[in-house]
């Protein structure tokens, strides 16, 4: 871990909110992106990101310096997002018998979302949103955060073989949903 970040962590442990703010600034983008890809909504991702950092602050004394700070923070974020998806599913099941809809992200755009240029409802998010949380996390960590198998295993608290298996399953499921015919494939490859 960089010495600068280690310094911020030590100062934040002593109650230095300025140092804590530096940590939040340094990691807000990866945390927000993980939350967005998991929850499918910029507003929810913002809320989840804030909650992640507050939880990080309350758990600072449990952080081991020999561990990667980014993995630790993303671990908190991913576990919180998975819990949030499970709560969303419980709420849906109490109102609707359709379990598939329970894991789909909220598609209601609040007024704040219309002012946010960053949200893009693309096909990729639709494919990712239909994955089970256990398969969604490794896919997001692999493609949007570039984590290795070791790092994904550390974030999720699972074995490396489980990471391989889940990535494989995630790709199988995304491939089932993606409408890739030969014509589309050819045009994508030519654009790329």
């Amino acid at each position: 871990m960089e010495s600068q970040e280690l310094n911020w962590v030590e100062r934040a442990k002593r109650g230095d909110q300025l140092a804590f703010g530096q940590l939040v600034e340094a990691y807000q983008r990866p945390v927000f992106n993980l939350a967005y890809r998991m929850l499918g909504s910029a507003a929810e991702a913002e809320d989840a990101s804030q909650e992640t950092f507050v939880r990080m602050y309350t758990k600072l004394n449990t952080f081991q310096p020999d561990r990667k700070l980014s993995s630790w923070i993303l671990s908190i974020a991913s576990h919180y997002c998975v819990d949030r998806l499970r709560r969303r599913r419980l709420n849906w099941l109490s109102l609707d018998d359709d379990p598939v809809a329970a894991v789909l992200p909220s598609r209601q755009a609040g007024p704040e979302e219309s002012t946010l240029r960053r949200e893009v409802r693309d096909d990729v998010q639709d494919w990712v949103a239909e994955l089970e949380p256990g398969y969604r996390v490794p896919l997001v960590l692999r493609y949007w955060h570039g984590l290795s198998y070791d790092e994904i295993a550390e974030v999720m608290g699972i074995s490396i073989s489980a990471v391989k298996s889940r990535l494989h399953r995630a790709r199988l499921q995304v491939a089932e949903r993606a409408p890739f015919g030969s014509a589309v494939l050819t045009s994508l490859l030519s654009v790329g």
């Binding site: 002593r14 109650g15 909110q17 804590f20 703010g21 939040v24 600034e25 807000q28 983008r29 927000f32 992106n33 967005y36 910029a42 991702a45 913002e46 990101s49 804030q50 909650e51 950092f53 507050v54 602050y57 309350t58 946010l116 960053r118 949200e119 893009v120 693309d122 096909d123 990729v124 998010q125 896919l139 692999r142 493609y143 949007w144 198998y149 391989k164 990535l167 494989h168 790709r171 199988l172 995304v174 491939a175 993606a178 890739f180 494939l185 994508l188 490859l189 790329g192």
Partner: protein, 183 residues
């Protein structure tokens, strides 16, 4: 589609396949059109996923975190103060009960009838504030235990439960104060 080969394809996309595994897949693709189609689809999906944008959080996220943290810390501090206040009030009440018992036991030896009347009146007064004690006292009296032994046991149990509750409620604020003082 052969699962054992799609597993290797997944490793290849992540650059985690060994050279031998790569050669195994390549040899298989020469003879299996289904797996070849799958591999091409996965390659285009891989490119599509990698091209998906990273999004920027709102400029207010950092300030939002600090505001949320401050609210949470304030809430925990209030719980700590409430727990401390409850502990103090229960301590006073427990002290009063203990004094009544000691005086009653000492005086009751010589004046059992008057002692019973006083204790009964006192218990009625306190029961308006100590509903759990009252209910448990009635139960113990029905079981034939002496009034002094019963009330003494009730006080010990209630005191332990209250102490546990207050410690659990006040723990975050106590830890925060210890942390501040140690630094």
């Amino acid at each position: 589609m052969h699962v054992e080969y799609t597993e290797l394809m997944s490793l290849m996309l992540d650059n985690e396949a060994s050279p031998e595994q790569v050669r195994t897949v390549q040899a298989h693709l020469k003879t299996c059109p289904n797996c070849t189609a799958t591999w091409r689809q996965w390659q285009s999906l891989d490119a599509r996923l990698k091209a998906a944008p990273m999004l920027a959080p709102s400029p207010e996220l950092v300030s939002g975190v600090l505001i949320r943290l401050e609210k949470r810390q304030r809430r925990r501090s209030m719980v700590g103060w409430l727990g401390g206040g409850l502990l103090a009030s229960w301590g006073v009440m427990t002290g009063m009960i203990v004094c009544l018992l000691v005086v009653g036991a000492w005086w009751g030896r010589a004046n059992p009838l008057q002692a019973s009347v006083v204790l009964s009146a006192s218990s009625h007064l306190l029961s308006s504030l100590l509903w759990p004690v009252r209910g448990m006292g009635i139960a113990l009296a029905s079981a034939g235990l002496s009034l002094e032994a019963g009330i003494g046991g009730l006080i010990v149990v209630c005191g332990l439960l209250l102490a546990l509750w207050v410690v659990l409620a006040a723990r975050p604020s106590i830890l925060a104060q210890v942390r501040v003082r140690s630094h």
